[in-house]
Protein backbone atom coordinates (compact mmCIF):
# COMPACT_ATOMS: atom_id res chain seq x y z
CA UNK A 1 0.00 0.00 0.00
CA UNK A 2 2.83 2.41 0.90
CA UNK A 3 4.49 1.64 -2.42
CA UNK A 4 1.27 2.41 -4.28
CA UNK A 5 0.87 5.69 -2.41
CA UNK A 6 4.51 6.62 -3.11
CA UNK A 7 4.13 5.82 -6.81
CA UNK A 8 0.83 7.65 -7.24
CA UNK A 9 2.19 10.62 -5.30
CA UNK A 10 5.02 10.81 -7.81
CA UNK A 11 2.52 10.63 -10.67
CA UNK A 12 0.41 13.30 -9.05
CA UNK A 13 3.43 15.56 -8.61
CA UNK A 14 4.26 14.90 -12.24
CA UNK A 15 0.73 15.85 -13.30
CA UNK A 16 0.67 19.14 -11.38
CA UNK A 17 4.31 20.19 -11.24
CA UNK A 18 6.14 18.71 -14.24
CA UNK A 19 8.51 21.06 -16.03
CA UNK A 20 5.94 21.98 -18.68
CA UNK A 21 3.18 22.78 -16.22
CA UNK A 22 4.86 24.17 -13.16
CA UNK A 23 4.49 27.82 -14.20
CA UNK A 24 0.81 27.35 -14.95
CA UNK A 25 0.36 25.79 -11.54
CA UNK A 26 2.23 28.62 -9.84
CA UNK A 27 0.14 31.15 -11.78
CA UNK A 28 -3.11 29.43 -10.78
CA UNK A 29 -2.07 29.29 -7.15
CA UNK A 30 -1.02 32.91 -7.00
CA UNK A 31 -3.85 34.26 -9.15
CA UNK A 32 -6.18 35.10 -6.23
CA UNK A 33 -3.28 36.69 -4.36
CA UNK A 34 -2.56 38.89 -7.37
CA UNK A 35 -6.23 39.90 -7.72
CA UNK A 36 -6.38 40.86 -4.06
CA UNK A 37 -3.14 42.77 -4.47
CA UNK A 38 -4.57 44.70 -7.41
CA UNK A 39 -7.75 45.43 -5.46
CA UNK A 40 -5.67 46.67 -2.54
CA UNK A 41 -3.78 49.05 -4.79
CA UNK A 42 -6.75 50.31 -6.81
CA UNK A 43 -9.60 50.14 -4.30
CA UNK A 44 -10.72 53.32 -2.58
CA UNK A 45 -13.72 52.15 -0.55
CA UNK A 46 -16.12 54.67 0.88
CA UNK A 47 -18.76 52.37 2.34
CA UNK A 48 -18.07 50.99 5.79
CA UNK A 49 -19.02 47.44 4.87
CA UNK A 50 -16.89 47.38 1.69
CA UNK A 51 -14.21 45.10 3.10
CA UNK A 52 -16.58 42.48 4.48
CA UNK A 53 -18.58 42.45 1.26
CA UNK A 54 -15.43 42.24 -0.82
CA UNK A 55 -14.20 39.36 1.33
CA UNK A 56 -17.48 37.45 1.06
CA UNK A 57 -17.89 37.97 -2.68
CA UNK A 58 -14.30 37.07 -3.33
CA UNK A 59 -14.53 33.83 -1.36
CA UNK A 60 -17.92 32.65 -2.58
CA UNK A 61 -17.88 33.92 -6.16
CA UNK A 62 -14.33 34.50 -7.44
CA UNK A 63 -12.78 31.58 -5.61
CA UNK A 64 -15.67 29.23 -4.80
CA UNK A 65 -17.66 29.56 -8.02
CA UNK A 66 -15.06 30.36 -10.64
CA UNK A 67 -11.41 29.56 -9.92
CA UNK A 68 -11.57 26.60 -7.54
CA UNK A 69 -14.11 24.59 -9.63
CA UNK A 70 -12.01 25.07 -12.75
CA UNK A 71 -8.71 23.98 -11.19
CA UNK A 72 -10.33 21.13 -9.25
CA UNK A 73 -12.02 19.79 -12.38
CA UNK A 74 -8.86 20.27 -14.41
CA UNK A 75 -6.76 18.21 -12.03
CA UNK A 76 -9.55 15.77 -11.14
CA UNK A 77 -10.23 14.84 -14.75
CA UNK A 78 -6.56 15.07 -15.73
CA UNK A 79 -5.55 12.24 -13.41
CA UNK A 80 -6.95 9.80 -15.97
CA UNK A 81 -7.22 11.80 -19.20
CA UNK A 82 -3.56 12.89 -19.09
CA UNK A 83 -2.60 9.22 -19.03
CA UNK A 84 -4.97 8.38 -21.90
CA UNK A 85 -3.90 11.30 -24.07
CA UNK A 86 -0.23 10.78 -23.25
CA UNK A 87 -0.62 7.04 -24.04
CA UNK A 88 0.99 6.21 -20.70
CA UNK A 89 -2.07 4.54 -19.19
CA UNK A 90 -0.78 1.15 -20.29
CA UNK A 91 2.08 1.41 -17.76
CA UNK A 92 -0.43 1.83 -14.95
CA UNK A 93 -3.03 -0.61 -16.28
CA UNK A 94 -0.63 -3.54 -16.57
CA UNK A 95 0.34 -3.54 -12.89
CA UNK A 96 -1.19 -5.69 -10.15
CA UNK A 97 -3.18 -2.77 -8.73
CA UNK A 98 -6.87 -2.00 -8.80
CA UNK A 99 -7.11 0.45 -11.66
CA UNK A 100 -9.75 2.71 -10.16
CA UNK A 101 -7.99 2.88 -6.82
CA UNK A 102 -4.70 3.69 -8.53
CA UNK A 103 -6.19 6.68 -10.35
CA UNK A 104 -8.07 7.72 -7.23
CA UNK A 105 -4.77 7.80 -5.28
CA UNK A 106 -3.41 10.07 -7.98
CA UNK A 107 -6.45 12.36 -7.62
CA UNK A 108 -5.93 12.47 -3.85
CA UNK A 109 -2.38 13.72 -4.44
CA UNK A 110 -3.79 16.76 -6.25
CA UNK A 111 -6.12 17.50 -3.34
CA UNK A 112 -3.14 18.75 -1.32
CA UNK A 113 -2.44 21.43 -3.94
CA UNK A 114 -6.13 22.36 -4.07
CA UNK A 115 -6.18 22.82 -0.30
CA UNK A 116 -3.04 24.96 -0.45
CA UNK A 117 -4.51 26.97 -3.28
CA UNK A 118 -7.73 27.55 -1.32
CA UNK A 119 -5.69 28.63 1.69
CA UNK A 120 -3.58 31.07 -0.31
CA UNK A 121 -6.70 32.61 -1.86
CA UNK A 122 -8.72 32.93 1.34
CA UNK A 123 -5.64 33.95 3.30
CA UNK A 124 -4.78 36.78 0.92
CA UNK A 125 -8.27 38.28 0.89
CA UNK A 126 -8.62 37.74 4.62
CA UNK A 127 -5.44 39.69 5.32
CA UNK A 128 -6.52 42.48 3.01
CA UNK A 129 -10.12 42.73 4.20
CA UNK A 130 -9.77 42.26 7.92
CA UNK A 131 -6.61 44.29 8.24
CA UNK A 132 -8.51 47.26 6.80
CA UNK A 133 -12.04 46.55 8.01
CA UNK A 134 -13.26 49.00 10.64
CA UNK A 135 -15.49 46.37 12.26
CA UNK A 136 -12.84 43.98 13.49
CA UNK A 137 -9.21 42.90 13.37
CA UNK A 138 -7.35 39.87 12.07
CA UNK A 139 -7.23 37.92 15.33
CA UNK A 140 -10.92 38.32 16.09
CA UNK A 141 -11.92 37.08 12.68
CA UNK A 142 -9.56 34.13 12.53
CA UNK A 143 -12.44 31.62 12.80
CA UNK A 144 -13.90 33.15 9.62
CA UNK A 145 -10.67 32.33 7.78
CA UNK A 146 -10.72 28.75 9.01
CA UNK A 147 -14.42 28.20 8.22
CA UNK A 148 -14.04 29.56 4.74
CA UNK A 149 -10.89 27.64 4.07
CA UNK A 150 -12.74 24.48 5.12
CA UNK A 151 -15.68 25.40 2.84
CA UNK A 152 -13.45 26.03 -0.17
CA UNK A 153 -11.29 22.96 0.44
CA UNK A 154 -14.36 20.73 0.68
CA UNK A 155 -15.88 22.26 -2.45
CA UNK A 156 -12.58 21.79 -4.28
CA UNK A 157 -12.41 18.14 -3.25
CA UNK A 158 -16.04 17.66 -4.30
CA UNK A 159 -15.41 19.18 -7.74
CA UNK A 160 -12.23 17.13 -8.10
CA UNK A 161 -14.12 13.94 -7.20
CA UNK A 162 -16.80 14.87 -9.71
CA UNK A 163 -14.05 15.32 -12.30
CA UNK A 164 -12.66 11.89 -11.45
CA UNK A 165 -16.09 10.27 -11.91
CA UNK A 166 -16.66 12.10 -15.21
CA UNK A 167 -13.25 11.03 -16.47
CA UNK A 168 -14.09 7.35 -16.15
CA UNK A 169 -17.59 7.81 -17.57
CA UNK A 170 -17.07 10.11 -20.55
CA UNK A 171 -14.58 10.92 -23.26
CA UNK A 172 -14.67 14.69 -22.66
CA UNK A 173 -14.87 14.94 -18.90
CA UNK A 174 -13.49 18.47 -18.60
CA UNK A 175 -16.13 19.84 -20.99
CA UNK A 176 -18.95 18.18 -19.06
CA UNK A 177 -17.39 19.21 -15.78
CA UNK A 178 -17.19 22.85 -16.83
CA UNK A 179 -20.79 22.73 -18.07
CA UNK A 180 -21.84 21.49 -14.65
CA UNK A 181 -19.68 24.02 -12.79
CA UNK A 182 -20.58 27.09 -14.82
CA UNK A 183 -24.09 26.33 -16.09
CA UNK A 184 -25.81 23.80 -13.89
CA UNK A 185 -24.47 25.43 -10.75
CA UNK A 186 -26.21 28.71 -11.72
CA UNK A 187 -29.67 27.14 -11.86
CA UNK A 188 -30.12 26.47 -8.11
CA UNK A 189 -29.87 30.17 -7.39
CA UNK A 190 -33.18 30.72 -9.19
CA UNK A 191 -34.80 27.27 -9.24
CA UNK A 192 -36.86 25.43 -6.67
CA UNK A 193 -35.25 24.56 -3.34
CA UNK A 194 -34.47 20.99 -4.33
CA UNK A 195 -31.84 22.12 -6.82
CA UNK A 196 -29.70 23.92 -4.30
CA UNK A 197 -29.58 20.73 -2.23
CA UNK A 198 -27.56 18.99 -4.94
CA UNK A 199 -25.32 21.90 -5.92
CA UNK A 200 -21.70 21.90 -4.75
CA UNK A 201 -21.43 25.69 -4.97
CA UNK A 202 -24.57 26.17 -2.89
CA UNK A 203 -23.21 23.87 -0.20
CA UNK A 204 -19.92 25.74 -0.23
CA UNK A 205 -21.71 29.07 0.05
CA UNK A 206 -23.82 27.73 2.91
CA UNK A 207 -20.65 26.77 4.76
CA UNK A 208 -18.92 30.05 4.00
CA UNK A 209 -21.73 32.52 4.68
CA UNK A 210 -23.00 30.99 7.93
CA UNK A 211 -26.65 31.75 7.24
CA UNK A 212 -28.96 31.40 10.17
CA UNK A 213 -30.83 28.15 10.45
CA UNK A 214 -34.52 28.33 9.67
CA UNK A 215 -37.08 25.79 10.72
CA UNK A 216 -38.48 24.21 7.59
CA UNK A 217 -40.23 21.00 6.66
CA UNK A 218 -38.80 18.56 4.14
CA UNK A 219 -41.39 19.67 1.58
CA UNK A 220 -40.48 23.32 2.08
CA UNK A 221 -36.83 22.51 1.55
CA UNK A 222 -37.67 20.88 -1.75
CA UNK A 223 -39.72 23.76 -3.05
CA UNK A 224 -38.60 26.98 -1.37
CA UNK A 225 -35.17 28.53 -1.15
CA UNK A 226 -34.66 27.57 2.48
CA UNK A 227 -31.06 28.29 3.55
CA UNK A 228 -28.89 25.19 3.83
CA UNK A 229 -27.57 24.63 7.31
CA UNK A 230 -23.91 23.97 8.07
CA UNK A 231 -24.55 20.35 9.01
CA UNK A 232 -26.62 19.74 5.88
CA UNK A 233 -23.91 21.29 3.74
CA UNK A 234 -21.16 19.21 5.33
CA UNK A 235 -23.15 15.99 4.97
CA UNK A 236 -24.11 16.78 1.37
CA UNK A 237 -20.55 17.57 0.33
CA UNK A 238 -19.27 14.39 1.97
CA UNK A 239 -21.98 12.34 0.25
CA UNK A 240 -21.11 13.90 -3.12
CA UNK A 241 -17.42 13.13 -2.56
CA UNK A 242 -18.05 9.55 -1.44
CA UNK A 243 -20.51 8.80 -4.27
CA UNK A 244 -18.20 10.26 -6.95
CA UNK A 245 -15.10 8.52 -5.61
CA UNK A 246 -16.78 5.14 -5.08
CA UNK A 247 -18.48 5.33 -8.49
CA UNK A 248 -15.25 6.38 -10.17
CA UNK A 249 -13.20 3.62 -8.57
CA UNK A 250 -15.77 0.99 -9.45
CA UNK A 251 -16.30 2.17 -13.02
CA UNK A 252 -12.58 2.43 -13.76
CA UNK A 253 -12.27 -1.27 -13.02
CA UNK A 254 -15.12 -2.12 -15.39
CA UNK A 255 -14.34 -0.07 -18.47
CA UNK A 256 -11.84 -0.33 -21.28
CA UNK A 257 -9.78 2.77 -21.95
CA UNK A 258 -8.40 2.64 -25.45
CA UNK A 259 -6.80 5.51 -27.25
CA UNK A 260 -6.52 3.61 -30.53
CA UNK A 261 -9.93 2.03 -30.76
CA UNK A 262 -10.34 1.41 -34.52
CA UNK A 263 -14.08 2.02 -34.36
CA UNK A 264 -13.37 5.47 -32.95
CA UNK A 265 -10.92 6.19 -35.72
CA UNK A 266 -13.30 5.36 -38.52
Amino acid sequence: MINLIAATWKLSLYQVWNRKRRWITVALMLFPVVIVGVAAILGTPEKADFYENFYQKFVTVALGSILIPFVALFWGTGALTDEIEGKTLVYLWTRPRHRGFLIFCKVVGSWLWLIIMAFLGVGAVYLYAYYNAPAGGLAENLPVLLWDWRALALAAIAFSSLGFLLSVLTKRPLVYGLLIAYMWELIPEYGPGFFQRISITQQMQALATHKEEKEASFAQKLIEQVPITEVEALITLLVIIIVCVAGGIWMAGQREFLSDDPARNQ
Binding site: N3, A7, K10, Y14, V90, Y91, T94, R97
Partner: protein, 332 residues
Protein backbone atom coordinates in the same frame (compact mmCIF):
# COMPACT_ATOMS: atom_id res chain seq x y z
CA UNK B 1 20.08 -19.64 -36.66
CA UNK B 2 21.60 -22.27 -34.35
CA UNK B 3 20.72 -20.29 -31.20
CA UNK B 4 17.02 -20.26 -32.03
CA UNK B 5 15.19 -22.19 -29.31
CA UNK B 6 13.78 -25.60 -30.33
CA UNK B 7 10.15 -25.91 -31.40
CA UNK B 8 7.63 -26.66 -28.65
CA UNK B 9 6.49 -30.25 -28.33
CA UNK B 10 3.28 -31.77 -26.99
CA UNK B 11 4.90 -31.82 -23.52
CA UNK B 12 5.80 -28.12 -23.54
CA UNK B 13 3.80 -26.33 -20.81
CA UNK B 14 1.12 -23.90 -21.97
CA UNK B 15 1.45 -20.36 -20.59
CA UNK B 16 -1.51 -18.68 -22.24
CA UNK B 17 -4.65 -19.78 -23.97
CA UNK B 18 -7.47 -18.21 -25.94
CA UNK B 19 -10.73 -20.03 -26.55
CA UNK B 20 -13.14 -18.72 -29.18
CA UNK B 21 -11.98 -15.23 -28.25
CA UNK B 22 -13.52 -12.38 -30.24
CA UNK B 23 -13.34 -8.65 -29.91
CA UNK B 24 -15.72 -6.16 -31.48
CA UNK B 25 -15.28 -2.39 -31.54
CA UNK B 26 -18.83 -1.41 -32.34
CA UNK B 27 -19.35 -2.79 -35.84
CA UNK B 28 -15.64 -3.34 -36.47
CA UNK B 29 -14.21 -6.72 -35.63
CA UNK B 30 -10.77 -6.70 -34.08
CA UNK B 31 -10.36 -10.40 -33.40
CA UNK B 32 -12.58 -13.17 -34.70
CA UNK B 33 -13.05 -16.45 -32.78
CA UNK B 34 -9.43 -17.07 -32.01
CA UNK B 35 -8.61 -20.34 -30.29
CA UNK B 36 -4.97 -21.17 -29.63
CA UNK B 37 -2.45 -22.12 -27.00
CA UNK B 38 0.84 -20.36 -26.42
CA UNK B 39 3.59 -22.69 -25.23
CA UNK B 40 6.60 -21.91 -23.06
CA UNK B 41 9.38 -20.29 -25.08
CA UNK B 42 9.37 -17.63 -27.75
CA UNK B 43 6.29 -17.19 -29.90
CA UNK B 44 6.19 -14.86 -32.85
CA UNK B 45 2.97 -13.06 -33.65
CA UNK B 46 2.98 -12.04 -37.25
CA UNK B 47 0.57 -10.07 -39.35
CA UNK B 48 0.31 -6.97 -41.52
CA UNK B 49 -0.90 -3.69 -40.06
CA UNK B 50 -4.56 -4.01 -39.09
CA UNK B 51 -4.38 -7.80 -38.74
CA UNK B 52 -5.44 -7.67 -35.10
CA UNK B 53 -2.04 -8.12 -33.45
CA UNK B 54 -2.47 -5.24 -31.02
CA UNK B 55 -6.00 -6.32 -30.14
CA UNK B 56 -4.71 -9.85 -29.57
CA UNK B 57 -1.95 -8.59 -27.26
CA UNK B 58 -4.22 -6.17 -25.43
CA UNK B 59 -6.67 -8.96 -24.74
CA UNK B 60 -3.87 -11.24 -23.65
CA UNK B 61 -2.60 -8.58 -21.27
CA UNK B 62 -6.04 -7.79 -19.84
CA UNK B 63 -6.37 -4.30 -21.24
CA UNK B 64 -9.35 -5.35 -23.30
CA UNK B 65 -12.18 -7.61 -22.30
CA UNK B 66 -13.12 -10.26 -24.86
CA UNK B 67 -16.54 -9.64 -26.40
CA UNK B 68 -16.86 -13.42 -26.56
CA UNK B 69 -14.75 -16.36 -25.48
CA UNK B 70 -12.06 -16.60 -22.83
CA UNK B 71 -8.44 -15.60 -22.34
CA UNK B 72 -6.22 -17.22 -19.74
CA UNK B 73 -2.64 -16.49 -18.72
CA UNK B 74 -1.14 -19.07 -16.36
CA UNK B 75 -4.72 -20.15 -15.66
CA UNK B 76 -5.85 -16.62 -14.73
CA UNK B 77 -8.22 -14.33 -16.58
CA UNK B 78 -6.10 -11.17 -16.99
CA UNK B 79 -9.17 -8.92 -17.29
CA UNK B 80 -10.55 -9.83 -13.87
CA UNK B 81 -7.55 -11.21 -12.01
CA UNK B 82 -4.92 -8.55 -11.37
CA UNK B 83 -2.53 -11.21 -10.05
CA UNK B 84 -1.87 -12.05 -13.70
CA UNK B 85 0.28 -8.89 -13.80
CA UNK B 86 2.61 -10.36 -11.20
CA UNK B 87 3.73 -12.97 -13.74
CA UNK B 88 3.34 -11.00 -16.96
CA UNK B 89 5.16 -7.98 -18.34
CA UNK B 90 3.95 -5.91 -21.27
CA UNK B 91 5.96 -3.65 -23.55
CA UNK B 92 3.57 -1.57 -25.71
CA UNK B 93 4.26 -0.34 -29.23
CA UNK B 94 3.52 3.28 -28.36
CA UNK B 95 6.61 5.48 -28.13
CA UNK B 96 5.11 7.79 -25.56
CA UNK B 97 6.45 7.82 -22.03
CA UNK B 98 6.59 10.34 -19.19
CA UNK B 99 8.74 12.77 -21.16
CA UNK B 100 9.82 14.90 -18.21
CA UNK B 101 11.02 11.93 -16.14
CA UNK B 102 14.43 10.36 -16.42
CA UNK B 103 14.61 6.80 -17.68
CA UNK B 104 15.64 5.59 -14.23
CA UNK B 105 12.76 7.43 -12.53
CA UNK B 106 10.30 5.80 -14.91
CA UNK B 107 11.60 2.28 -14.40
CA UNK B 108 11.69 2.77 -10.62
CA UNK B 109 8.13 4.09 -10.73
CA UNK B 110 6.92 0.93 -12.45
CA UNK B 111 8.73 -1.03 -9.73
CA UNK B 112 6.85 0.83 -7.00
CA UNK B 113 3.60 0.26 -8.88
CA UNK B 114 4.44 -3.43 -8.99
CA UNK B 115 4.62 -3.35 -5.19
CA UNK B 116 8.34 -3.13 -4.47
CA UNK B 117 9.88 -0.90 -1.81
CA UNK B 118 12.01 2.06 -2.86
CA UNK B 119 15.26 0.20 -2.17
CA UNK B 120 14.08 -2.89 -4.04
CA UNK B 121 12.84 -0.81 -7.00
CA UNK B 122 16.18 0.99 -7.21
CA UNK B 123 18.05 -2.33 -7.15
CA UNK B 124 15.81 -4.01 -9.70
CA UNK B 125 15.74 -1.04 -12.05
CA UNK B 126 19.56 -0.88 -12.02
CA UNK B 127 19.69 -4.57 -12.99
CA UNK B 128 17.18 -4.22 -15.80
CA UNK B 129 18.66 -0.98 -17.11
CA UNK B 130 22.02 -2.69 -17.37
CA UNK B 131 20.40 -5.63 -19.12
CA UNK B 132 19.03 -3.34 -21.83
CA UNK B 133 22.29 -1.32 -21.96
CA UNK B 134 20.64 1.85 -20.68
CA UNK B 135 22.46 2.17 -17.35
CA UNK B 136 24.63 5.07 -18.43
CA UNK B 137 21.81 6.99 -20.16
CA UNK B 138 19.19 6.44 -17.48
CA UNK B 139 19.78 9.77 -15.72
CA UNK B 140 18.77 11.71 -18.81
CA UNK B 141 15.24 12.96 -19.42
CA UNK B 142 13.17 10.64 -21.59
CA UNK B 143 12.25 13.50 -23.95
CA UNK B 144 15.84 13.43 -25.20
CA UNK B 145 15.82 9.70 -25.95
CA UNK B 146 15.92 8.18 -29.42
CA UNK B 147 13.33 5.65 -30.54
CA UNK B 148 15.66 2.78 -29.69
CA UNK B 149 16.41 4.13 -26.22
CA UNK B 150 12.70 4.48 -25.51
CA UNK B 151 12.20 0.90 -26.60
CA UNK B 152 14.90 -0.26 -24.19
CA UNK B 153 13.48 1.74 -21.30
CA UNK B 154 10.02 0.26 -21.94
CA UNK B 155 11.54 -3.20 -21.95
CA UNK B 156 13.36 -2.54 -18.66
CA UNK B 157 10.05 -1.40 -17.14
CA UNK B 158 8.30 -4.54 -18.41
CA UNK B 159 10.98 -6.72 -16.81
CA UNK B 160 11.27 -5.03 -13.43
CA UNK B 161 9.05 -7.52 -11.61
CA UNK B 162 10.78 -10.56 -13.10
CA UNK B 163 7.81 -11.79 -15.14
CA UNK B 164 7.46 -15.34 -16.42
CA UNK B 165 5.74 -14.11 -19.58
CA UNK B 166 6.86 -11.04 -21.50
CA UNK B 167 4.60 -9.64 -24.19
CA UNK B 168 6.26 -7.31 -26.69
CA UNK B 169 4.25 -5.33 -29.21
CA UNK B 170 6.39 -4.51 -32.29
CA UNK B 171 9.57 -4.18 -30.21
CA UNK B 172 11.91 -3.87 -33.19
CA UNK B 173 10.07 -1.04 -34.92
CA UNK B 174 12.36 1.83 -35.80
CA UNK B 175 15.53 0.26 -34.45
CA UNK B 176 18.78 0.43 -36.43
CA UNK B 177 20.34 -2.90 -37.53
CA UNK B 178 22.71 -3.11 -34.57
CA UNK B 179 19.90 -2.20 -32.18
CA UNK B 180 17.82 -5.01 -33.67
CA UNK B 181 20.59 -7.52 -33.21
CA UNK B 182 21.05 -6.46 -29.58
CA UNK B 183 17.32 -6.58 -28.90
CA UNK B 184 16.97 -10.04 -30.45
CA UNK B 185 19.85 -11.18 -28.25
CA UNK B 186 18.04 -9.90 -25.15
CA UNK B 187 14.88 -11.78 -26.16
CA UNK B 188 16.84 -14.99 -26.64
CA UNK B 189 18.49 -14.47 -23.27
CA UNK B 190 15.08 -14.04 -21.63
CA UNK B 191 13.91 -17.29 -23.19
CA UNK B 192 17.10 -19.03 -22.09
CA UNK B 193 16.27 -17.97 -18.52
CA UNK B 194 13.06 -20.00 -18.79
CA UNK B 195 10.68 -17.14 -19.54
CA UNK B 196 8.11 -17.08 -22.27
CA UNK B 197 8.27 -14.26 -24.78
CA UNK B 198 5.59 -13.23 -27.23
CA UNK B 199 6.87 -10.87 -29.92
CA UNK B 200 4.66 -9.25 -32.50
CA UNK B 201 5.94 -7.97 -35.79
CA UNK B 202 4.84 -7.32 -39.35
CA UNK B 203 8.22 -8.46 -40.62
CA UNK B 204 8.54 -12.18 -41.09
CA UNK B 205 12.32 -12.14 -41.10
CA UNK B 206 12.48 -10.63 -37.60
CA UNK B 207 10.39 -13.41 -36.16
CA UNK B 208 12.27 -16.00 -38.15
CA UNK B 209 15.51 -14.92 -36.51
CA UNK B 210 14.04 -15.43 -33.09
CA UNK B 211 11.82 -18.46 -32.98
CA UNK B 212 10.50 -21.41 -34.92
CA UNK B 213 7.03 -21.07 -33.44
CA UNK B 214 4.69 -18.42 -34.73
CA UNK B 215 1.10 -17.35 -35.05
CA UNK B 216 -0.01 -15.54 -38.18
CA UNK B 217 -2.98 -13.24 -37.93
CA UNK B 218 -4.90 -11.80 -40.82
CA UNK B 219 -8.06 -9.71 -40.56
CA UNK B 220 -8.61 -10.78 -36.97
CA UNK B 221 -8.30 -14.50 -37.66
CA UNK B 222 -5.51 -16.99 -37.13
CA UNK B 223 -4.23 -17.72 -40.61
CA UNK B 224 -1.46 -20.11 -39.63
CA UNK B 225 0.06 -21.38 -36.42
CA UNK B 226 3.06 -23.56 -35.75
CA UNK B 227 6.44 -24.09 -37.43
CA UNK B 228 7.70 -21.01 -39.17
CA UNK B 229 9.52 -23.11 -41.79
CA UNK B 230 6.21 -24.47 -43.08
CA UNK B 231 4.97 -20.97 -43.73
CA UNK B 232 8.35 -19.97 -45.08
CA UNK B 233 8.29 -22.66 -47.71
CA UNK B 234 4.88 -21.45 -48.80
CA UNK B 235 6.10 -17.95 -49.45
CA UNK B 236 9.56 -18.75 -50.74
CA UNK B 237 8.66 -17.80 -54.27
CA UNK B 238 6.84 -14.66 -53.23
CA UNK B 239 9.26 -11.70 -53.65
CA UNK B 240 9.51 -9.31 -50.74
CA UNK B 241 10.44 -5.65 -51.00
CA UNK B 242 12.89 -4.22 -48.49
CA UNK B 243 13.53 -0.53 -48.02
CA UNK B 244 17.03 0.27 -46.81
CA UNK B 245 18.01 3.76 -45.64
CA UNK B 246 21.74 4.45 -45.87
CA UNK B 247 24.04 7.44 -46.42
CA UNK B 248 26.22 5.08 -48.54
CA UNK B 249 23.68 3.65 -50.97
CA UNK B 250 26.05 2.48 -53.70
CA UNK B 251 28.41 0.84 -51.24
CA UNK B 252 25.45 -0.84 -49.55
CA UNK B 253 24.11 -2.02 -52.91
CA UNK B 254 27.48 -3.53 -53.82
CA UNK B 255 27.04 -6.11 -51.04
CA UNK B 256 23.70 -7.39 -52.31
CA UNK B 257 23.73 -6.81 -56.03
CA UNK B 258 25.42 -10.16 -56.71
CA UNK B 259 22.92 -12.21 -54.73
CA UNK B 260 20.83 -14.59 -56.84
CA UNK B 261 17.66 -13.83 -54.92
CA UNK B 262 17.82 -10.07 -55.67
CA UNK B 263 15.59 -9.26 -58.61
CA UNK B 264 15.92 -5.44 -58.58
CA UNK B 265 17.50 -2.52 -56.75
CA UNK B 266 16.25 1.07 -56.99
CA UNK B 267 17.83 4.18 -55.49
CA UNK B 268 15.49 6.86 -54.23
CA UNK B 269 16.44 10.40 -53.33
CA UNK B 270 14.13 13.29 -52.32
CA UNK B 271 11.16 11.71 -53.97
CA UNK B 272 12.95 10.81 -57.22
CA UNK B 273 13.68 7.27 -58.22
CA UNK B 274 16.54 6.36 -60.48
CA UNK B 275 18.40 3.16 -61.16
CA UNK B 276 21.96 4.46 -61.42
CA UNK B 277 24.34 7.29 -60.54
CA UNK B 278 23.17 7.92 -57.01
CA UNK B 279 25.21 10.49 -55.07
CA UNK B 280 26.87 9.30 -51.87
CA UNK B 281 26.60 12.72 -50.25
CA UNK B 282 23.01 12.60 -48.93
CA UNK B 283 21.10 9.81 -47.17
CA UNK B 284 19.38 7.59 -49.72
CA UNK B 285 16.86 4.84 -49.78
CA UNK B 286 17.40 1.58 -51.63
CA UNK B 287 14.39 -0.42 -52.56
CA UNK B 288 15.38 -4.05 -53.00
CA UNK B 289 13.15 -6.82 -54.28
CA UNK B 290 14.24 -10.31 -53.34
CA UNK B 291 12.76 -13.80 -53.39
CA UNK B 292 14.81 -14.67 -50.29
CA UNK B 293 15.02 -11.56 -48.12
CA UNK B 294 16.93 -13.39 -45.40
CA UNK B 295 19.93 -13.68 -47.71
CA UNK B 296 19.79 -9.92 -48.29
CA UNK B 297 19.56 -9.24 -44.59
CA UNK B 298 22.43 -11.59 -43.81
CA UNK B 299 24.59 -9.86 -46.42
CA UNK B 300 23.69 -6.45 -45.00
CA UNK B 301 24.38 -7.59 -41.48
CA UNK B 302 27.84 -8.71 -42.58
CA UNK B 303 28.43 -5.40 -44.34
CA UNK B 304 27.52 -3.46 -41.19
CA UNK B 305 29.50 -5.57 -38.77
CA UNK B 306 32.56 -6.38 -40.84
CA UNK B 307 32.87 -3.50 -43.31
CA UNK B 308 31.34 -0.76 -41.11
CA UNK B 309 28.82 0.20 -43.78
CA UNK B 310 26.34 2.75 -42.41
CA UNK B 311 22.74 1.60 -42.58
CA UNK B 312 20.12 3.67 -40.76
CA UNK B 313 17.05 1.48 -41.16
CA UNK B 314 15.70 -1.59 -42.89
CA UNK B 315 12.01 -2.17 -43.28
CA UNK B 316 9.84 -4.60 -45.13
CA UNK B 317 7.22 -2.64 -46.95
CA UNK B 318 3.73 -3.24 -45.63
CA UNK B 319 1.99 -3.67 -48.89
CA UNK B 320 4.35 -6.49 -49.69
CA UNK B 321 3.67 -8.26 -46.45
CA UNK B 322 0.04 -7.80 -47.26
CA UNK B 323 0.82 -9.46 -50.58
CA UNK B 324 2.30 -12.41 -48.71
CA UNK B 325 -0.82 -12.73 -46.64
CA UNK B 326 -3.04 -12.50 -49.68
CA UNK B 327 -0.86 -15.19 -51.19
CA UNK B 328 -1.32 -17.35 -48.11
CA UNK B 329 -5.04 -16.71 -48.06
CA UNK B 330 -5.20 -17.82 -51.68
CA UNK B 331 -3.16 -20.92 -50.89
CA UNK B 332 -5.28 -21.98 -47.93
Amino acid sequence: MSDIPPSPTADTPIVAEMTEASKWYGDVIGLNQVSLQIPLGITGLLGPNGAGKSTFLKMLTGQLQPSRGTVQVFGMDPWTNLDAYRVMGFCPDSEQLYEEMTGREFVELTGRLAGFSKAESVKRSATQLDRVSMGQHSHRLIKGYSKGMRQRIRLAAALIHDPKLIVLDEPLNGLDPIGRIEMLEIFRQLAAEGRSVIVSSHILHEIENLTRHMIMLHRGRVLAEGEISEVRSLIERQPLTLRIASPQPRLTASFIVGLESVTSIDFTSAGATYATAASESAPQTLTVRSTQPDTVLEALQKAVVEKRVEINAIEAMDENLDAIFHYLVDQS
